[in-house]
């Protein structure tokens, strides 16, 4: 046991991993209710639904880590991403059916999300210039919901526009995943990663110009905002030993 401890300690102390700072970007796939859409119709009273209508998004960010030994390091990331509103035709058709009108014009901005998360990194060289990096980060995630505008027209009369206002909230979040790094040069690596992210902000959402109780009305949203990120990045590597 003492020998094993000594071996591990000596190997850990003998070398440091490849610290880095880099940029990454990629696609993000919302999961759970947040990433679902639904036909929501209610002719008598408001209807709510956990469906978040979050479509596939994109993100970019900066991440870095300093390795205090061969495998373990501390680091963090700043990431910003957006998610378009998916299936807006389905969303709009729900309002059309709810109000029994000739035409509904619906427009929606995107979800916007940024995260700032410190945490632990683990690095392991697997073959030649290729290494694997895992990370477990926790911090804050700030999310802004879309602004949804619905314009109702019947018998060629525009009955006005009602709006689900955008809401924003900062909440605890975490992020974890693994990636492959290929050292193109001694100080430059290309990284391919897959990460899971999670936060659960409890939004309070204002609605304006809602006069009659019918159709989808979301005045709060308390669902996990989670998903999977696939990213490609480049990093400046320093501290190689």
């Amino acid at each position: 046991m003492t020998a094993l401890t000594g071996f591990l300690a000596s190997s850990v102390m003998a070398q440091k991993g490849s610290s880095f700072i880099g940029v990454e970007g990629g696609v993000s796939f919302p999961t759970g209710n947040w990433g679902k859409s639904a036909f929501i119709s209610s002719t008598n009273g408001y209807a709510s639904s956990p469906a978040g209508f979050a479509g596939t998004g994109g993100f970019g960010g900066v991440s870095g880590a300093w390795f205090f030994n061969r495998h373990f390091g501390i680091g963090g990331l700043f990431r910003y991403g957006t998610y378009h509103t998916k299936d807006i035709n389905t969303l709009s058709a729900g309002y059309q059916d709810s109000f029994d009108v000739d035409q509904v014009a619906t427009s929606s901005t995107s979800y916007k999300m940024w995260s700032l998360m410190p945490g632990l990194y683990y690095q392991q060289k697997i073959w030649g210039r290729l290494s694997v990096t895992a990370r477990a980060l926790a911090g804050i995630t700030h999310t802004q919901t879309p602004k949804v505008s619905v314009d109702v027209t019947d018998s060629d009369i525009d009955d006005g526009t009602f709006v689900q206002q955008s809401a924003s909230k900062t909440a605890f979040g975490f992020d974890g995943g693994v990636g492959l790094s290929y050292a193109v040069l001694s100080f430059l690596s290309v990284n391919l990663r897959g990460d899971y992210f999670y936060s659960k902000p409890n939004f309070t959402i204002q609605n304006s110009e809602r006069s009659n109780a019918a159709g989808r009305l979301i005045d709060s949203y308390n669902q996990p905002l989670a998903g999977v990120n696939l990213s490609l990045g480049v990093a400046y590597v320093f501290g190689n030993k």
Binding site: V23, G25, T43, N44, G45, G57, G58, F59, G60, Y80, G81, T82, H84, T85, I88, N89, S92, A93, Y95, Q96, F99, D100, V101, D102, Q103, V104, A105, T106, S107, S108, T109, S110, K112, V152, D154, S155, D156, I157, D159, G160, F162, L185, F187, L188, E209, R210, S211, N212, A213, A214, G215, V234, Y236
Partner: protein, 221 residues
């Protein structure tokens, strides 16, 4: 072999440029226009079913019928006549049918289901300008929307009030059930209008559009 020169500043600038380009591309607004699916229901028939509140055997039914969905043929108004007793109160039900289908579809059930944005108006004429009441609980139709007031009469002595309410907050009237209160013997017309007011119903006549606009002959004896 040519040496590859590396510039960290160029790399950072390039990555930042790509990042900003990427974000601007992602931040787009989605929009769509959804038309109504083809309708499979028509509003062909309007029935006013009245019961004298003082005498349950005193029932009256008037029927306005237009079986041509295109509206080009003249409606059948031979039964669109209400004979009422003077100085009486009737409870009324408005029944709307689609008689192009077999069996006939009760469209008023659908109106009840969509009560939060439908509102009936009942305009007796002739009426004096002083008796024309425009408010968010009145069944009268503004002059600007077709009501012709009379300075001299004789007037139709009929007052209609709605007795049902929707589930809006605060609740608004609907008009599928009503009270018809008659005065002295008189004759005239009752214009019945169903307003479709999607998300704009506030008790008044003007918002929205008309799903129905028909006239009944009234004889109070």
């Amino acid at each position: 072999m040519k040496r590859v020169k590396f510039s960290f500043n160029r790399l950072v600038a390039g990555c930042v440029s790509v990042f900003l380009l990427f974000l601007s591309g992602c931040n787009k607004k989605e929009s769509t226009v959804t038309p109504a699916p083809p309708s499979n229901e028509f509003l062909t028939t309007v029935e006013l079913k009245l019961v004298n509140t003082a005498d349950a055997t005193d029932t009256v039914t008037a029927i306005w019928r237009q079986l041509d969905p295109t509206g080009t043929a003249l409606p059948d108004t031979s039964k669109a006549i209400l004979g009422l007793k003077a100085n009486a109160t009737y409870s009324a039900n408005v029944v709307l049918l689609d008689e192009t289908q077999t069996p006939a579809v009760v469209v008023s059930d659908e109106i009840k289901d969509r009560e939060n944005y439908h509102l009936f108006f009942f305009q007796p004429t002739p009426i004096s300008a002083s008796n024309l009441i425009i408010s968010n609980t009145s069944t009268d139709i503004p002059v600007a929307d077709g009501t012709v007031t009379s300075a001299s009469g004789p007037y139709l002595n009929l007052v209609v009030t709605r007795t049902d309410q929707d589930t809006n907050n605060p609740p608004l009237q609907i008009g599928l059930t009503d009270n018809f209160v008659t005065g002295a013997a008189s004759t005239g017309w009752l214009r019945v209008v169903l307003r479709h007011q999607p998300n704009v119903k506030n008790g008044t006549y003007d918002p929205g559009s008309s799903d129905l606009d028909v006239n009944f002959q009234i004889n109070i004896q």
